[in-house]
């Protein structure tokens, strides 16, 4: 875990981001339509579309467009949304905060729930509790978010029970209760698969550690079971859990797209879908850049955490 290693990793991340944004850009150029066409729709005469393209800067050749975008980024200017006529930084920034709060809540609640679940399952391996947790994990891991979301909406937010709002968003600054009631369903949807993955991983690692010589020795020493688990088994099982959590950040970044769309949560996912539909290139670029950076950084951070937690890796 040297400084050199970190620097190399960061450089690799930057290289990747450049390649990704360029690829996104190149692909959009191949598309038949563009933002101007989407804005005017069927009311766009050829002249009107051409005029709008000029205004939006879409008539310039692709490399000019790309390089002016890169130049802008380097000076902190992410450009104007083609569709919304607002600065991309504002639009994406707001959306990012909303997504981050949703993802953050999902991740935190999952970690609080999933790790104990996994531990429970490992300790009670082979019993009914283990089976129940196992079944729940499999079901959770097999349902795509849109299925979970739809079923949750159907049962909890539908006219029959009407327990929770069927989507929408209330800012935390406006009302804590409102924010909470609107965040429950989307966070649960996101959390289901995560809980399944993480608890299974913890269970499998814990089981392995529990049957290892190291633990057997601790038990032979006469230590109480609880102390054995807390002080000896748990720390060694957590490293893979952290690895899974970081992998799941990647899943979260994908899952958030569908969940936000279904629950009308004004985050990056929903914005991305909107931008893709409307060929709003600067917004697509900014979001892709942001998500790829978050993912790369989270991988890096989890690698560091694993190294700290698990001495075996540190000296590898």
């Amino acid at each position: 875990m040297t400084l050199g290693y970190l620097v190399r990793r960061l450089l690799a991340v930057i290289l990747v981001l450049i390649v990704v944004t360029f690829a996104v850009f190149a692909i959009t150029m191949i598309l038949p339509g563009n933002a101007a066409v989407m804005i005017l729709g069927e009311y766009g005469t050829d002249e009107a579309v051409a005029a709008l393209e000029r205004r939006l800067g879409l008539d310039k050749s692709w490399y000019i467009q790309y390089f002016s975008w890169v130049k802008g980024i380097l000076s902190g200017d992410f450009g104007q949304s083609l569709r919304l006529s607002l600065p991309v930084a504002d639009v994406v920034g707001d959306a990012f905060l909303n997504s981050a709060s949703l993802a953050g809540i999902a991740l935190i609640s999952v970690t609080i729930i999933a790790i104990p679940l996994g531990v429970l399952a490992a300790i009670n391996r082979g019993t009914v509790a283990d089976l129940v947790i196992g079944v729940f994990s499999y079901i959770g891991a097999s349902m795509p978010e849109f299925v979970t979301a739809t079923l949750l909406l159907l049962f909890l937010a539908g006219p029959a029970l009407g327990l929770l709002p069927a989507g929408g968003f209330v800012a935390l600054t406006e009302s804590v209760g409102g924010f909470a009631s609107h965040v429950i369903l989307p966070a649960t949807t996101l959390g289901l698969i995560l809980t399944a993955h993480i608890s299974r991983q913890v269970r499998s690692e814990m089981s392995e550690v529990l049957s290892s010589d190291y633990i057997r020795a601790a038990r032979l020493k006469g230590l109480r079971e609880r102390r054995v688990i807390r002080r000896h088994a748990l720390p060694n099982s957590l490293a893979p859990a952290v690895a899974v959590i970081s992998l799941d950040v990647g899943y979260l970044l994908g899952g958030i797209i569908v969940v936000e769309e279904i629950f009308a949560w004004p985050g990056l996912g929903r914005l991305l879908i909107y931008a893709l539909e409307n060929r709003d290139l600067p917004v697509i670029q900014a979001i892709t850049l942001l998500l790829a950076t978050v993912y790369a950084l989270s991988n890096l951070i989890s690698d560091i955490i694993i190294a700290i937690l698990d001495p075996r890796v540190r000296y590898a």
């Binding site: 339509g33 005017l40 009107a48 909406l153 709002p165 069927a166 279904i262 629950f263």
Partner: protein, 509 residues
């Protein structure tokens, strides 16, 4: 004599009370915020070029046009208090109201009107109203409150054109500056002015205290809330505090209208889906093939399945029954045998394979396409439905393709309807049907103000259209909206561009 006077006085008193009573009962209360939910983004506030269903209410609230289409589908005064046209319908003069100011306080005068129309007519500025205003030769400000239009050809419906939802009056100052500001900055003469605009969530407008219609608007503020997911929007409307749901989906209408406390509105409209069949390419260059398809479609079934019964079957007349000059249209019943025979006559005794393109926006195109595919099967039509993203459709298929689904809202006049799509030089002409006789008839209809002559011209035009069958128009879709019971005065125009929110008030509990 004396008694008679007393009686008469009492009668008069009673009459006065009787007249006052309804007004007393119906007296609206001022104040409150109206919350409207919608499912498509308000992407721009530029009145010249916007076209989103949720954007129209916003500019209907914030801007005024010279005229405006009223609930009876006739032009009514808006910024112009009166107008007159020359007998040959080539010159129109509009008289503006006095003392009207923009939201920023600057006076609204004829120079703003002139600037607006010049922008609309400017080919370099995208404007959706151009297609109904392209007969304007010149527009001049006679004095501060009078505007004169000179047309290059007679057009009797000109005051309807000036009511076009994208022909709202913008200040000269805004038009001489950076036009991109129009996308986000609103400065109009309408009953409400913009307070905050967040296209991702809520757009809020507040009362314009200087609105030219005395006493209106009644509301303090209007908020537009975005719910991109229709299921979430519906559920939220039913159980939350949204007052009006702008557009209701057919699938939800029954559920919403049967919920207590909710007033679901269904307005018959001339909105239609049309099947475009290209005239200058096989196989639709053969009239019999077009007719065959027309008989291979069960129109009532389409209304039942796709519209959930919330519409009326159409029989290929582009004008719906609401239009004044519409003729009685003969019904085409679902007759696969006849369709098959017609195909055989056209040279396809074993049926025909076709690709039908449907863009993914709105979803109704694909639904109708799928239904048509099934219904036309027994007649020998083997139709493959191809869906595609909307911009690909616009770039590659629209106005070029052989066979595709189009979708149009209702236009205010017969002339606008015909000139939108069917005349040879229509802006969005997409079937290749260039019929000189039809053009002549449409022209004749617009050039005179004599009703009988217009009726004759338009009748003949419709008969020609029905005979040649450029489009199959299987139904007219109703406009569906809903409001809570405490919302009073809310109505919607079948053209779906005018919302009269200055008439809405909220009943206090």
């Amino acid at each position: 004599m004396f008694i008679f006077n007393i009686l008469r006085r009492n009668v008069l008193l009673c009459m006065a009370l009787a007249l006052a009573l309804p007004t007393f009962v119906a007296a609206q209360s001022n104040g409150g915020t109206l919350k409207i939910s919608h499912s498509t983004r308000i992407a721009t506030l530029n009145p010249l070029s916007l076209s989103g269903p949720a954007e129209y209410p916003v500019i209907d609230m914030a801007y005024s046009g010279l005229t405006r289409i009223g609930p009876d589908s006739q032009p009514m005064p808006d910024l112009a208090k009166s107008w007159e046209g020359s007998p040959d319908a080539t010159e129109f003069t509009f008289h503006l109201r006095e003392g009207v100011t923009f939201h920023d306080g600057t006076p609204a005068t004829s120079s703003d009107v002139v600037a607006t129309y010049e922008a609309i007519l400017n080919p370099d500025i995208p404007s959706s109203a151009l297609s109904v205003l392209n007969m304007i030769d010149s527009v001049e400000a006679v004095d501060d409150l009078t505007v004169k239009f000179t047309l290059s050809s007679p057009f009797a419906d000109f005051p309807t054109s000036t009511a076009h939802a994208n022909a709202r009056i913008i200040s000269e100052e805004a038009l001489s500056g950076d036009l991109t500001k129009l996308d986000t900055v609103v400065n109009g003469t309408g009953p409400f002015k913009m307070e905050s605009y967040d296209s991702a969530r809520v757009t809020r407008l507040v009362r314009n205290d200087n609105y030219f219609s005395e006493g209106k608007p009644y509301l303090d503020a209007v908020e537009m809330h975005l719910f991109p997911d229709l299921a979430a929007e519906t559920t939220n409307f039913l159980s939350g505090d949204i007052d009006v749901m702008l557009l209701v989906q057919q699938a939800d209408y029954a559920r919403i209208s049967s919920t207590s406390g909710i007033n679901a509105l269904r307005v018959p409209s001339g909105r239609y889906v049309n099947v475009v069949m290209r005239f200058d390419q096989p196989p639709f260059d053969n009239l019999k093939v077009r007719e065959a398809l027309a008989y291979a479609i069960d129109r009532q079934l389409l209304v039942d399945l796709v519209l959930e019964g919330l519409g009326r079957p159409g029989h290929d007349n582009i004008l719906s029954p609401e239009f004044k000059f519409r003729i009685d249209t003969p019904k085409k019943n679902y007759d696969p045998a006849k369709a098959k025979a017609l195909l055989a006559e056209a040279g396809y005794p074993d049926g025909i394979s076709l690709d039908l393109v449907a863009s993914n926006r709105p979803a109704i195109r694909a639904q109708v396409a799928i239904a048509i595919k099934q219904m036309a099967l027994p007649a020998g039509f083997d139709i493959k439905v191809e869906t595609m993203p909307h911009d690909t459709y616009i770039a590659n298929v629209w106005k070029k393709g052989n066979f595709y689904m189009a979708y149009w809202g209702m236009q205010p006049t017969e002339d606008a309807t015909f000139n939108l799509l069917l005349t040879s030089n229509a802006s969005y002409e997409d079937t290749g049907w260039k019929n000189a006789k039809f053009d002549e008839l449409v022209n004749a209809g617009r050039s005179t103000t004599i009703e009988a002559e217009r009726a004759a011209a338009y009748s003949e035009a419709q008969e020609l259209m029905l005979k040649e069958l450029p489009y199959i128009i299987p139904f007219y879709e109703d406009v569906l909206t809903a409001s809570k019971d405490h919302v009073k005065g809310y109505s919607i125009n079948p053209i779906n561009r005018y919302f009269y929110l200055e008439n809405v008030w909220l009943e206090k509990e």
